[in-house]
Amino acid sequence: MSIDRATVEYVARLARLALTAEEQDRFAGQLSTILAYCARLTELPTDDVEPASHVAAMTNVARDDVIRPSLPRDEILAAAPAQEAGFFKVPPILETEPNP
Protein backbone atom coordinates (compact mmCIF):
# COMPACT_ATOMS: atom_id res chain seq x y z
CA MET A 1 0.00 0.00 0.00
CA SER A 2 1.75 3.15 -1.19
CA ILE A 3 0.37 6.65 -0.79
CA ASP A 4 1.82 9.17 -3.20
CA ARG A 5 1.92 12.92 -2.86
CA ALA A 6 -1.06 13.46 -5.15
CA THR A 7 -3.17 11.25 -2.86
CA VAL A 8 -1.94 13.17 0.17
CA GLU A 9 -2.91 16.44 -1.49
CA TYR A 10 -6.34 15.06 -2.41
CA VAL A 11 -7.05 13.77 1.11
CA ALA A 12 -5.76 17.00 2.68
CA ARG A 13 -8.23 18.93 0.53
CA LEU A 14 -11.07 16.68 1.70
CA ALA A 15 -9.94 17.20 5.31
CA ARG A 16 -9.58 20.98 4.90
CA LEU A 17 -5.94 20.87 5.97
CA ALA A 18 -3.24 23.07 4.46
CA LEU A 19 -0.05 20.99 4.52
CA THR A 20 3.49 22.16 3.87
CA ALA A 21 5.60 20.34 1.27
CA GLU A 22 7.58 18.78 4.12
CA GLU A 23 4.36 17.53 5.76
CA GLN A 24 3.11 16.10 2.46
CA ASP A 25 6.30 14.07 2.02
CA ARG A 26 6.36 12.91 5.63
CA PHE A 27 2.68 11.91 5.67
CA ALA A 28 3.01 10.08 2.34
CA GLY A 29 5.67 7.84 3.87
CA GLN A 30 4.02 7.42 7.27
CA LEU A 31 0.53 6.77 5.92
CA SER A 32 1.97 4.18 3.51
CA THR A 33 3.58 2.35 6.43
CA ILE A 34 0.47 2.52 8.61
CA LEU A 35 -1.90 1.44 5.82
CA ALA A 36 0.40 -1.46 4.88
CA TYR A 37 0.11 -2.60 8.49
CA CYS A 38 -3.69 -2.14 8.40
CA ALA A 39 -3.85 -4.26 5.23
CA ARG A 40 -3.20 -7.26 7.50
CA LEU A 41 -6.95 -7.23 8.13
CA THR A 42 -7.45 -8.80 4.70
CA GLU A 43 -6.02 -12.03 6.22
CA LEU A 44 -9.28 -12.43 8.13
CA PRO A 45 -12.32 -13.73 6.24
CA THR A 46 -15.27 -11.47 7.14
CA ASP A 47 -17.80 -12.02 4.34
CA ASP A 48 -20.40 -13.34 6.78
CA VAL A 49 -19.61 -10.90 9.58
CA GLU A 50 -21.82 -7.91 10.31
CA PRO A 51 -19.99 -4.59 10.74
CA ALA A 52 -20.12 -3.10 14.26
CA SER A 53 -20.58 0.66 14.14
CA HIS A 54 -20.83 0.70 17.92
CA VAL A 55 -21.16 -1.62 20.91
CA ALA A 56 -23.81 0.35 22.76
CA ALA A 57 -26.47 -1.75 24.41
CA MET A 58 -29.40 0.02 22.77
CA THR A 59 -30.80 0.96 19.37
CA ASN A 60 -32.90 4.10 19.05
CA VAL A 61 -33.07 6.56 21.91
CA ALA A 62 -35.71 9.27 21.86
CA ARG A 63 -36.55 11.95 24.37
CA ASP A 64 -39.86 13.68 24.96
CA ASP A 65 -40.51 16.45 22.49
CA VAL A 66 -40.44 19.31 24.98
CA ILE A 67 -38.64 22.63 24.88
CA ARG A 68 -35.68 22.90 27.21
CA PRO A 69 -33.52 25.94 27.89
CA SER A 70 -30.57 26.42 25.54
CA LEU A 71 -27.20 27.91 26.37
CA PRO A 72 -27.34 31.75 26.32
CA ARG A 73 -26.64 33.12 22.82
CA ASP A 74 -24.41 35.94 24.07
CA GLU A 75 -22.18 33.52 25.91
CA ILE A 76 -21.79 31.28 22.84
CA LEU A 77 -21.12 34.21 20.52
CA ALA A 78 -18.57 35.63 22.95
CA ALA A 79 -16.37 32.57 22.27
CA ALA A 80 -16.41 33.11 18.50
CA PRO A 81 -13.42 34.64 16.70
CA ALA A 82 -15.76 37.11 14.95
CA GLN A 83 -19.45 37.96 15.35
CA GLU A 84 -21.87 40.61 14.20
CA ALA A 85 -25.54 41.33 14.94
CA GLY A 86 -26.09 38.02 16.72
CA PHE A 87 -24.41 35.87 14.06
CA PHE A 88 -21.07 34.18 13.55
CA LYS A 89 -19.09 36.20 11.03
CA VAL A 90 -16.98 34.47 8.36
CA PRO A 91 -15.11 35.42 5.17
CA PRO A 92 -16.90 35.17 1.78
CA ILE A 93 -18.26 31.68 1.17
CA LEU A 94 -19.41 31.68 -2.48
CA GLU A 95 -17.38 30.48 -5.46
CA THR A 96 -14.18 30.25 -3.53
CA GLU A 97 -13.88 26.57 -2.80
CA PRO A 98 -11.84 24.46 -5.24
CA ASN A 99 -13.62 21.28 -6.24
CA PRO A 100 -11.77 18.34 -4.73
Partner: protein, 464 residues
Protein backbone atom coordinates in the same frame (compact mmCIF):
# COMPACT_ATOMS: atom_id res chain seq x y z
CA UNK B 1 -6.14 19.01 52.90
CA UNK B 2 -6.57 21.14 49.77
CA UNK B 3 -3.74 23.39 50.93
CA UNK B 4 -1.43 20.38 51.45
CA UNK B 5 -2.04 19.19 47.92
CA UNK B 6 -1.63 22.69 46.50
CA UNK B 7 1.72 22.95 48.31
CA UNK B 8 2.80 19.64 46.84
CA UNK B 9 1.80 20.78 43.36
CA UNK B 10 3.76 24.00 43.87
CA UNK B 11 6.89 22.11 44.90
CA UNK B 12 6.76 19.21 42.42
CA UNK B 13 4.90 20.19 39.28
CA UNK B 14 7.78 22.26 37.95
CA UNK B 15 9.51 18.90 37.40
CA UNK B 16 6.54 16.67 36.53
CA UNK B 17 4.39 19.14 34.54
CA UNK B 18 1.18 17.21 35.08
CA UNK B 19 -1.08 20.27 35.22
CA UNK B 20 -2.03 22.71 32.49
CA UNK B 21 -3.92 24.86 34.98
CA UNK B 22 -4.26 24.97 38.76
CA UNK B 23 -7.02 27.10 40.22
CA UNK B 24 -5.70 27.53 43.76
CA UNK B 25 -7.92 30.45 44.80
CA UNK B 26 -11.13 28.78 43.78
CA UNK B 27 -10.03 25.43 45.26
CA UNK B 28 -9.27 27.07 48.61
CA UNK B 29 -12.56 28.97 48.57
CA UNK B 30 -14.46 25.73 47.88
CA UNK B 31 -12.54 23.95 50.64
CA UNK B 32 -13.37 26.71 53.13
CA UNK B 33 -17.05 26.39 52.27
CA UNK B 34 -16.92 22.68 53.11
CA UNK B 35 -15.02 23.40 56.34
CA UNK B 36 -17.76 25.81 57.37
CA UNK B 37 -20.51 23.36 56.44
CA UNK B 38 -18.76 20.61 58.42
CA UNK B 39 -18.37 22.87 61.45
CA UNK B 40 -22.09 23.65 61.22
CA UNK B 41 -22.82 19.94 61.32
CA UNK B 42 -24.29 19.76 57.79
CA UNK B 43 -24.57 16.40 56.06
CA UNK B 44 -21.42 15.81 54.03
CA UNK B 45 -21.52 14.38 50.49
CA UNK B 46 -19.04 11.57 49.69
CA UNK B 47 -16.21 13.72 48.30
CA UNK B 48 -16.74 16.85 50.45
CA UNK B 49 -13.55 18.90 50.29
CA UNK B 50 -11.57 16.22 48.40
CA UNK B 51 -9.36 17.61 45.63
CA UNK B 52 -9.87 16.06 42.18
CA UNK B 53 -7.95 16.81 38.97
CA UNK B 54 -9.70 16.62 35.62
CA UNK B 55 -8.14 15.78 32.26
CA UNK B 56 -8.24 18.89 30.09
CA UNK B 57 -10.54 17.33 27.50
CA UNK B 58 -13.51 17.40 29.88
CA UNK B 59 -15.46 20.66 29.90
CA UNK B 60 -15.40 22.80 33.04
CA UNK B 61 -17.57 25.87 33.18
CA UNK B 62 -15.50 28.99 33.76
CA UNK B 63 -12.19 27.09 33.54
CA UNK B 64 -10.38 26.95 30.16
CA UNK B 65 -10.37 23.58 28.40
CA UNK B 66 -7.64 23.22 25.77
CA UNK B 67 -7.60 19.49 24.86
CA UNK B 68 -3.83 19.98 24.77
CA UNK B 69 -4.32 21.81 21.47
CA UNK B 70 -3.49 25.27 20.17
CA UNK B 71 -6.78 25.27 18.32
CA UNK B 72 -8.71 25.63 21.62
CA UNK B 73 -6.19 27.84 23.42
CA UNK B 74 -8.06 30.32 25.59
CA UNK B 75 -11.47 28.73 25.09
CA UNK B 76 -13.61 28.56 28.22
CA UNK B 77 -16.58 26.17 28.10
CA UNK B 78 -20.00 27.68 28.83
CA UNK B 79 -21.10 24.51 30.62
CA UNK B 80 -19.87 21.66 32.84
CA UNK B 81 -19.56 18.08 31.59
CA UNK B 82 -21.99 15.80 33.41
CA UNK B 83 -19.11 14.12 35.27
CA UNK B 84 -17.96 17.55 36.47
CA UNK B 85 -21.47 18.45 37.66
CA UNK B 86 -21.55 15.14 39.53
CA UNK B 87 -18.16 15.83 41.11
CA UNK B 88 -19.33 19.24 42.26
CA UNK B 89 -22.56 17.79 43.69
CA UNK B 90 -20.47 15.16 45.51
CA UNK B 91 -18.47 17.94 47.15
CA UNK B 92 -15.23 17.48 45.21
CA UNK B 93 -12.88 20.44 44.88
CA UNK B 94 -11.72 20.87 41.27
CA UNK B 95 -8.06 21.63 41.79
CA UNK B 96 -7.01 21.90 38.15
CA UNK B 97 -6.84 20.52 34.62
CA UNK B 98 -4.26 17.96 33.61
CA UNK B 99 -2.05 17.59 30.54
CA UNK B 100 -2.78 15.12 27.75
CA UNK B 101 -1.85 14.17 24.22
CA UNK B 102 -3.64 16.61 21.91
CA UNK B 103 -7.30 15.56 21.68
CA UNK B 104 -6.29 12.37 23.58
CA UNK B 105 -4.38 11.13 20.52
CA UNK B 106 -1.25 9.49 21.83
CA UNK B 107 0.32 7.08 24.29
CA UNK B 108 2.94 9.28 25.94
CA UNK B 109 1.56 12.81 26.57
CA UNK B 110 4.33 14.03 24.25
CA UNK B 111 1.72 15.17 21.71
CA UNK B 112 0.50 17.99 23.97
CA UNK B 113 0.91 21.43 22.41
CA UNK B 114 1.97 22.57 25.89
CA UNK B 115 4.95 20.21 26.31
CA UNK B 116 5.32 16.69 27.71
CA UNK B 117 4.49 15.48 31.21
CA UNK B 118 7.22 13.44 32.93
CA UNK B 119 6.95 10.14 34.75
CA UNK B 120 7.33 10.70 38.52
CA UNK B 121 9.32 7.44 38.78
CA UNK B 122 11.93 8.65 36.27
CA UNK B 123 11.71 12.17 34.91
CA UNK B 124 13.42 11.15 31.65
CA UNK B 125 10.54 8.79 30.84
CA UNK B 126 6.97 9.29 29.64
CA UNK B 127 4.04 8.84 32.02
CA UNK B 128 2.08 7.12 29.26
CA UNK B 129 -0.93 8.69 27.67
CA UNK B 130 -3.11 10.14 26.74
CA UNK B 131 -4.22 10.75 30.37
CA UNK B 132 -0.54 11.16 31.36
CA UNK B 133 -1.13 14.35 33.36
CA UNK B 134 -3.86 12.78 35.48
CA UNK B 135 -1.75 9.65 36.08
CA UNK B 136 1.42 11.56 36.94
CA UNK B 137 -0.50 13.90 39.28
CA UNK B 138 -1.91 10.95 41.25
CA UNK B 139 1.39 8.98 41.23
CA UNK B 140 3.32 12.00 42.52
CA UNK B 141 0.80 12.56 45.32
CA UNK B 142 -0.24 15.95 43.94
CA UNK B 143 -3.89 14.93 43.99
CA UNK B 144 -5.65 11.84 45.43
CA UNK B 145 -8.13 11.36 42.58
CA UNK B 146 -8.29 12.28 38.91
CA UNK B 147 -10.49 11.77 35.90
CA UNK B 148 -9.09 10.51 32.62
CA UNK B 149 -10.52 9.26 29.36
CA UNK B 150 -9.84 5.95 27.63
CA UNK B 151 -10.38 5.49 23.88
CA UNK B 152 -7.67 2.88 23.26
CA UNK B 153 -6.03 2.57 26.68
CA UNK B 154 -5.56 6.19 27.69
CA UNK B 155 -6.50 5.59 31.34
CA UNK B 156 -5.03 2.11 31.82
CA UNK B 157 -1.68 2.54 30.05
CA UNK B 158 -0.63 5.67 31.99
CA UNK B 159 -1.91 4.07 35.22
CA UNK B 160 0.33 1.07 34.45
CA UNK B 161 3.33 3.26 33.60
CA UNK B 162 3.01 5.25 36.84
CA UNK B 163 2.11 2.47 39.29
CA UNK B 164 -1.44 3.55 40.11
CA UNK B 165 -4.99 2.25 39.57
CA UNK B 166 -6.97 3.22 36.47
CA UNK B 167 -10.43 2.02 35.48
CA UNK B 168 -12.09 2.18 32.09
CA UNK B 169 -15.81 1.64 32.70
CA UNK B 170 -18.09 -0.17 30.25
CA UNK B 171 -19.01 1.92 27.21
CA UNK B 172 -22.25 3.64 28.29
CA UNK B 173 -21.66 3.42 32.05
CA UNK B 174 -20.47 7.03 32.41
CA UNK B 175 -21.95 10.01 30.57
CA UNK B 176 -19.81 11.52 27.81
CA UNK B 177 -21.76 14.79 27.79
CA UNK B 178 -19.13 17.54 27.88
CA UNK B 179 -16.29 15.20 26.95
CA UNK B 180 -14.70 16.64 23.81
CA UNK B 181 -15.17 13.87 21.24
CA UNK B 182 -12.25 11.95 19.75
CA UNK B 183 -13.76 8.58 18.69
CA UNK B 184 -17.33 8.55 19.90
CA UNK B 185 -17.92 4.78 19.72
CA UNK B 186 -14.84 4.14 21.90
CA UNK B 187 -14.38 7.11 24.29
CA UNK B 188 -15.18 6.57 27.96
CA UNK B 189 -14.42 8.62 31.10
CA UNK B 190 -13.04 6.87 34.18
CA UNK B 191 -11.16 7.27 37.47
CA UNK B 192 -7.43 7.25 38.24
CA UNK B 193 -6.53 6.77 41.91
CA UNK B 194 -3.95 5.46 44.34
CA UNK B 195 -6.00 2.43 45.32
CA UNK B 196 -8.88 0.28 44.13
CA UNK B 197 -11.10 1.58 46.94
CA UNK B 198 -10.50 5.17 45.86
CA UNK B 199 -11.21 4.30 42.22
CA UNK B 200 -14.47 2.61 43.31
CA UNK B 201 -15.46 5.71 45.29
CA UNK B 202 -14.91 7.97 42.28
CA UNK B 203 -16.76 5.60 39.95
CA UNK B 204 -19.71 5.64 42.38
CA UNK B 205 -19.93 9.41 41.88
CA UNK B 206 -19.63 9.58 38.08
CA UNK B 207 -21.51 6.43 36.95
CA UNK B 208 -25.11 6.36 35.86
CA UNK B 209 -27.60 7.33 33.19
CA UNK B 210 -27.62 10.85 31.78
CA UNK B 211 -30.39 12.01 29.44
CA UNK B 212 -27.86 14.36 27.83
CA UNK B 213 -25.82 11.41 26.47
CA UNK B 214 -27.97 9.09 24.39
CA UNK B 215 -25.32 6.34 24.62
CA UNK B 216 -25.32 6.33 28.42
CA UNK B 217 -27.23 3.32 29.63
CA UNK B 218 -30.17 3.38 32.02
CA UNK B 219 -29.08 0.55 34.32
CA UNK B 220 -28.91 0.60 38.11
CA UNK B 221 -25.50 1.55 39.51
CA UNK B 222 -24.43 -0.82 42.27
CA UNK B 223 -22.59 0.38 45.37
CA UNK B 224 -19.05 -0.24 44.11
CA UNK B 225 -17.38 0.41 47.44
CA UNK B 226 -19.55 -2.33 48.96
CA UNK B 227 -18.31 -4.80 46.32
CA UNK B 228 -14.81 -4.74 47.82
CA UNK B 229 -14.94 -7.80 50.06
CA UNK B 230 -11.22 -8.48 50.15
CA UNK B 231 -11.30 -11.91 48.50
CA UNK B 232 -11.67 -13.36 45.03
CA UNK B 233 -13.26 -16.61 46.22
CA UNK B 234 -15.08 -18.49 43.48
CA UNK B 235 -14.12 -16.11 40.68
CA UNK B 236 -12.99 -17.72 37.45
CA UNK B 237 -10.18 -15.77 35.78
CA UNK B 238 -9.07 -16.47 32.23
CA UNK B 239 -5.45 -15.93 31.25
CA UNK B 240 -5.48 -14.63 27.67
CA UNK B 241 -2.99 -16.91 25.89
CA UNK B 242 -2.41 -14.58 22.94
CA UNK B 243 -1.41 -11.71 25.24
CA UNK B 244 1.74 -13.51 26.40
CA UNK B 245 3.37 -13.95 22.99
CA UNK B 246 6.38 -12.32 21.31
CA UNK B 247 7.18 -8.73 22.12
CA UNK B 248 6.24 -8.94 25.79
CA UNK B 249 9.14 -7.87 28.01
CA UNK B 250 10.28 -10.81 30.20
CA UNK B 251 9.99 -8.80 33.43
CA UNK B 252 6.42 -7.78 32.52
CA UNK B 253 5.56 -11.39 31.64
CA UNK B 254 6.94 -12.66 34.97
CA UNK B 255 5.16 -9.98 37.05
CA UNK B 256 1.79 -10.49 35.33
CA UNK B 257 2.07 -14.30 35.64
CA UNK B 258 2.83 -13.78 39.34
CA UNK B 259 -0.25 -11.54 39.64
CA UNK B 260 -2.36 -14.40 38.30
CA UNK B 261 -0.82 -16.76 40.86
CA UNK B 262 -1.54 -14.24 43.64
CA UNK B 263 -5.17 -14.07 42.55
CA UNK B 264 -5.34 -17.86 42.77
CA UNK B 265 -4.08 -17.55 46.36
CA UNK B 266 -6.90 -15.05 46.93
CA UNK B 267 -9.42 -17.71 45.96
CA UNK B 268 -9.75 -17.35 42.19
CA UNK B 269 -9.74 -20.28 39.79
CA UNK B 270 -7.42 -19.79 36.81
CA UNK B 271 -7.77 -21.14 33.30
CA UNK B 272 -6.43 -20.32 29.87
CA UNK B 273 -8.71 -18.53 27.40
CA UNK B 274 -8.10 -17.81 23.73
CA UNK B 275 -8.71 -14.45 22.01
CA UNK B 276 -7.44 -15.31 18.52
CA UNK B 277 -8.38 -12.02 16.80
CA UNK B 278 -6.88 -9.56 19.29
CA UNK B 279 -3.69 -9.42 17.20
CA UNK B 280 -5.83 -7.57 14.62
CA UNK B 281 -7.15 -5.06 17.14
CA UNK B 282 -4.49 -2.36 16.61
CA UNK B 283 -5.03 -1.95 12.83
CA UNK B 284 -8.80 -2.17 13.38
CA UNK B 285 -8.64 0.53 16.00
CA UNK B 286 -6.45 2.88 13.97
CA UNK B 287 -8.89 2.75 11.06
CA UNK B 288 -12.03 3.19 13.17
CA UNK B 289 -10.73 5.72 15.70
CA UNK B 290 -9.14 7.91 13.03
CA UNK B 291 -12.25 7.77 10.84
CA UNK B 292 -14.43 8.86 13.74
CA UNK B 293 -11.86 11.52 14.66
CA UNK B 294 -11.71 12.94 11.13
CA UNK B 295 -15.45 13.50 11.36
CA UNK B 296 -15.52 14.74 14.97
CA UNK B 297 -12.66 17.20 14.46
CA UNK B 298 -14.34 18.78 11.42
CA UNK B 299 -15.93 21.16 13.94
CA UNK B 300 -12.61 23.01 14.45
CA UNK B 301 -13.09 25.32 11.52
CA UNK B 302 -12.44 28.75 13.01
CA UNK B 303 -16.12 29.75 12.98
CA UNK B 304 -17.63 29.23 16.42
CA UNK B 305 -14.78 28.97 18.93
CA UNK B 306 -11.05 28.72 19.28
CA UNK B 307 -8.38 29.74 16.85
CA UNK B 308 -9.01 31.41 13.48
CA UNK B 309 -6.35 32.13 10.85
CA UNK B 310 -7.54 35.00 8.70
CA UNK B 311 -7.94 34.50 4.95
CA UNK B 312 -9.76 36.15 2.04
CA UNK B 313 -12.22 33.30 1.58
CA UNK B 314 -13.74 30.59 3.73
CA UNK B 315 -11.81 27.67 2.24
CA UNK B 316 -8.55 29.44 2.99
CA UNK B 317 -9.72 30.21 6.50
CA UNK B 318 -10.64 26.57 7.16
CA UNK B 319 -7.41 25.09 5.85
CA UNK B 320 -5.10 27.67 7.41
CA UNK B 321 -6.89 27.60 10.76
CA UNK B 322 -6.60 23.84 10.94
CA UNK B 323 -2.98 23.89 9.74
CA UNK B 324 -2.04 26.38 12.45
CA UNK B 325 -4.15 24.84 15.23
CA UNK B 326 -3.51 21.10 15.00
CA UNK B 327 -0.28 19.29 15.86
CA UNK B 328 1.39 16.57 13.79
CA UNK B 329 -0.30 13.52 15.30
CA UNK B 330 -3.77 15.06 15.02
CA UNK B 331 -3.14 15.98 11.37
CA UNK B 332 -1.81 12.47 10.69
CA UNK B 333 -4.91 10.86 12.19
CA UNK B 334 -7.31 13.19 10.39
CA UNK B 335 -5.53 12.28 7.14
CA UNK B 336 -5.65 8.55 7.86
CA UNK B 337 -9.32 8.68 8.83
CA UNK B 338 -10.30 10.85 5.88
CA UNK B 339 -8.51 8.40 3.58
CA UNK B 340 -10.22 5.35 5.14
CA UNK B 341 -13.63 7.00 4.68
CA UNK B 342 -13.00 8.31 1.16
CA UNK B 343 -14.60 6.97 -1.99
CA UNK B 344 -12.96 3.76 -3.12
CA UNK B 345 -11.45 2.90 0.26
CA UNK B 346 -14.50 2.91 2.54
CA UNK B 347 -15.38 -0.74 1.90
CA UNK B 348 -11.82 -2.06 2.04
CA UNK B 349 -10.69 -0.16 5.13
CA UNK B 350 -13.49 1.34 7.24
CA UNK B 351 -16.15 -1.32 6.73
CA UNK B 352 -13.57 -4.12 6.92
CA UNK B 353 -12.41 -2.75 10.28
CA UNK B 354 -16.00 -2.62 11.53
CA UNK B 355 -16.40 -6.29 10.61
CA UNK B 356 -13.20 -7.23 12.45
CA UNK B 357 -14.48 -5.28 15.43
CA UNK B 358 -17.40 -7.70 15.56
CA UNK B 359 -14.91 -10.61 15.63
CA UNK B 360 -12.83 -9.09 18.45
CA UNK B 361 -15.97 -8.48 20.47
CA UNK B 362 -17.06 -12.07 19.83
CA UNK B 363 -13.75 -13.40 21.17
CA UNK B 364 -14.33 -11.63 24.48
CA UNK B 365 -17.99 -12.68 24.65
CA UNK B 366 -17.06 -16.34 24.20
CA UNK B 367 -14.29 -16.12 26.80
CA UNK B 368 -16.53 -14.31 29.31
CA UNK B 369 -19.15 -17.04 29.05
CA UNK B 370 -16.59 -19.40 30.60
CA UNK B 371 -14.82 -17.03 32.98
CA UNK B 372 -15.77 -13.99 35.06
CA UNK B 373 -12.68 -11.96 34.17
CA UNK B 374 -9.90 -11.97 31.60
CA UNK B 375 -6.36 -11.16 32.77
CA UNK B 376 -3.56 -9.72 30.63
CA UNK B 377 -0.73 -7.18 30.77
CA UNK B 378 -1.50 -3.48 30.33
CA UNK B 379 1.50 -2.77 28.12
CA UNK B 380 4.26 -4.89 26.56
CA UNK B 381 7.00 -2.85 28.28
CA UNK B 382 7.49 -0.42 31.15
CA UNK B 383 7.53 3.36 30.50
CA UNK B 384 9.75 4.28 27.56
CA UNK B 385 12.03 7.31 27.27
CA UNK B 386 10.75 10.74 26.26
CA UNK B 387 11.53 11.09 22.55
CA UNK B 388 12.04 7.36 21.98
CA UNK B 389 8.99 6.80 19.77
CA UNK B 390 7.96 10.27 18.57
CA UNK B 391 9.26 9.73 15.03
CA UNK B 392 7.73 6.27 14.62
CA UNK B 393 3.92 6.48 14.85
CA UNK B 394 3.42 2.76 14.28
CA UNK B 395 5.76 1.82 17.15
CA UNK B 396 3.83 4.25 19.36
CA UNK B 397 0.50 2.68 18.31
CA UNK B 398 1.79 -0.80 19.25
CA UNK B 399 2.29 0.36 22.85
CA UNK B 400 -1.50 -0.08 23.17
CA UNK B 401 -1.69 -3.64 21.85
CA UNK B 402 -3.31 -5.04 25.02
CA UNK B 403 -5.58 -2.13 25.87
CA UNK B 404 -7.15 -1.43 22.46
CA UNK B 405 -9.08 -4.75 22.14
CA UNK B 406 -11.04 -3.88 25.29
CA UNK B 407 -12.30 -0.58 23.82
CA UNK B 408 -13.35 -2.33 20.61
CA UNK B 409 -15.40 -4.73 22.76
CA UNK B 410 -16.73 -1.90 25.00
CA UNK B 411 -15.94 -3.81 28.21
CA UNK B 412 -14.88 -2.57 31.67
CA UNK B 413 -11.22 -3.05 32.62
CA UNK B 414 -8.95 -2.02 35.46
CA UNK B 415 -5.18 -1.52 35.42
CA UNK B 416 -3.30 -1.96 38.65
CA UNK B 417 0.35 -2.24 39.72
CA UNK B 418 1.97 -5.70 40.06
CA UNK B 419 5.71 -5.11 40.31
CA UNK B 420 8.73 -3.23 39.00
CA UNK B 421 11.41 -3.55 36.35
CA UNK B 422 14.54 -1.43 36.91
CA UNK B 423 12.58 0.82 39.26
CA UNK B 424 9.68 1.36 36.85
CA UNK B 425 6.14 0.14 37.57
CA UNK B 426 4.54 -2.81 35.80
CA UNK B 427 0.74 -3.07 35.50
CA UNK B 428 -1.76 -5.78 34.68
CA UNK B 429 -5.41 -5.53 33.73
CA UNK B 430 -8.57 -7.37 34.60
CA UNK B 431 -11.36 -7.21 32.04
CA UNK B 432 -14.97 -7.94 32.99
CA UNK B 433 -18.37 -8.47 31.43
CA UNK B 434 -20.30 -5.43 30.22
CA UNK B 435 -21.59 -3.37 33.19
CA UNK B 436 -19.95 -5.73 35.71
CA UNK B 437 -17.47 -3.20 37.10
CA UNK B 438 -18.30 -4.57 40.56
CA UNK B 439 -16.59 -7.92 39.87
CA UNK B 440 -13.61 -6.19 38.25
CA UNK B 441 -13.19 -4.01 41.35
CA UNK B 442 -13.71 -6.89 43.76
CA UNK B 443 -10.93 -9.01 42.21
CA UNK B 444 -8.60 -6.01 41.90
CA UNK B 445 -9.17 -5.13 45.54
CA UNK B 446 -8.52 -8.71 46.67
CA UNK B 447 -5.24 -8.69 44.74
CA UNK B 448 -4.23 -5.31 46.09
CA UNK B 449 -4.91 -6.36 49.70
CA UNK B 450 -2.59 -9.36 49.35
CA UNK B 451 0.28 -7.65 47.54
CA UNK B 452 0.43 -3.95 48.42
CA UNK B 453 2.27 -2.75 45.29
CA UNK B 454 0.02 0.33 45.31
CA UNK B 455 1.64 1.51 48.54
CA UNK B 456 5.01 2.10 46.78
CA UNK B 457 5.54 5.78 45.96
CA UNK B 458 8.12 7.48 43.74
CA UNK B 459 10.88 9.45 45.47
CA UNK B 460 10.35 13.02 44.36
CA UNK B 461 11.15 16.41 45.73
CA UNK B 462 14.94 16.22 45.40
CA UNK B 463 15.73 18.02 42.17
CA UNK B 464 18.70 16.40 40.38
Amino acid sequence: MVRDYLDRIASLDGQVRAFLRVDADRALADARRWDTAYARGDAMPPLAGVPVAVKDIICTRGMPTTCGSRILEGWTPPYDATVVSRLREAGAVLIGKTNLDEFAMGSSTENSAYGPTRNPWDLTRVPGGSSGGSAAAVAAGMVPLALGTDTGGSIRQPAGFTGIVGLKPTYGRVSRYGLVAFASSLDQIGPLAGSVADAALLLDVIAGHDPLDSTSVDLPVPDYAAALRGDAGGLRIGIATEAFGDGLHPDVRAAVRQAAADLRSAGAVLEEVSLPTIEYAVPTYYLLATSEASSNLARYDGVRYGLRADADDIYGMYTRTRAAGFGSEVKRRIMLGTYALSAGYYEGFFLKAQRVRTLVRGDFQRALERVDLVLMPVSPTVAFRIGEKVDDPLAMYLADIYTIPVNLAGLPAIALPCGFSDGLPIGFQLIGRAFDEATVLRAAHAYEQRTGWHTRKPQLGNPP
